[in-house]
Subunit: 240 residues, 2 copies
């Protein structure tokens, strides 16, 4: 199966937002990072002209947003929910920094809907709301003034989700790793091709081959990647 | 010497900002991450009530901000300046992603003043302004809508600076990382070569190129590695 974009599976939930400008700015923040699923729980004003203004080119995110009457309704269908929190809580939650949380959420979002929940501007999430989530998330901040604007917090979290999408951790569950033999066959083919074009002097191959081995070792090649790379080399050799 | 907090050495420069709200929101974004040095070049409205409102608890950053008449004046005394850019430019700059740029700036800021320069809301920095900086910075974003709000971009960059402060890189590899442009030039050459051999159908290139980008992104290419890879492609193309 070729999964949809995992970011489509990440629901941003804004609970009890007071300022409609923050809703619009959050929609814009989401879209700049490739997210589109916005859900509100009892917003004070929505729809609202100021929200539309601040959404700028992300008006479609607002138009398709859902409004719910409870966090339960907003979380319906998700398998994992993370609550943004500016302060430690006396709850039995796992707490993560923004980057770690984004990695965990994105991994789940490859297969199931997940949610990131943001509380209102003044008092954040209630304990009753936070307890419905399975993770707490902290954005690293100045301990003397950690009060990020709501839409700014949405921007940082969506940014980390995008980074998690673009730079997945070394180990991937989705794709199968190449075996030792497959990788060695690729190196042999690469060496042969380089020698045949004169790029590599077979009498002094060592340093160059070592550099290439080091590069591909760092990437931890997957089966399909080895096939692609070998396919390219084969096409080039045939062509020449 | 026990140096001051390096974040105190990072100057945020807002050039030709139109909306005072963005100035206030930027001040708040800065303070939440521990930055305090704000400099404006020809803001349309400043001081301004809306800027004060949106600064919230960061009013002190606004009060101590400087207003300059030119970018030259704003950059005075800095040893390194990075220009935020949403689009590639035809300049001989090194370009970096937000995280890399933050690491480089913070390293310099341990000893000298540095600057991060943000252009106006509508058209960003002029080429005349960008050319006065030594680095270009891109925030990874949705290619279909990459238009971050100004204060949101300030928030992301200040967040990365804070991460760079809190999590300095373990030990830098002895080899220098390739820049954004160098890597993009490699991808272009790779694509061209694959198309010319018929391995890649230019009408349906997407998935294959994405897989290759994903592979090399994981490896975090170094300068010399890009040179080697491009050398191989060049030798193969000549030969054919």
């Amino acid at each position: 199966m070729n999964p949809q974009n995992p970011l489509d599976n990440v629901r941003i939930i804004l609970s009890h937002t007071s300022h409609p400008g923050n809703i619009g700015a959050s929609a814009r923040a989401m879209k700049t990072m490739g997210l589109s699923s916005l859900v509100m729980v009892n917003p004070t004003h929505f729809p609202d002209h100021e929200a539309d203004m601040l959404a700028a080119g992300a008006l479609d995110v607002l138009t398709e947003a859902r409004v719910c009457v409870s966090l339960d309704e907003a979380l319906s269908g998700t398998v994992l929910a993370a609550a943004l929190s500016a302060r430690p809580r006396e709850l039995s939650h796992n707490a993560y920094y923004a980057k770690q949380a984004a990695g965990i959420l994105l991994e789940q979002a490859r297969h199931h809907p997940v949610a990131l929940v943001f509380g209102g501007e003044t008092s954040g999430l209630s304990n009753e709301e936070a307890i419905k989530c399975q993770m707490l998330v902290y954005i690293p901040a100045n301990p003397e003034y950690a009060s990020l604007n709501l839409a700014a917090a949405v921007q940082v979290m969506c940014y980390e989700l995008r980074l998690a999408l673009e730079n997945p951790p070394a180990r991937e569950s989705e794709f199968e790793s190449a075996t030792f033999e497959e990788i060695e066959m690729f190196y042999r083919q690469l060496e042969k091709t380089m020698v045949s074009t004169g790029y590599l002097n077979p009498d002094q191959p060592k340093r160059l081959l070592e550099r290439l081995r080091r590069l591909f070792a760092r990437a931890r090649l997957e089966k399909e990647e080895v096939n692609i790379l070998r396919g390219i080399l084969k096409a080039l050799s045939k062509h020449s």
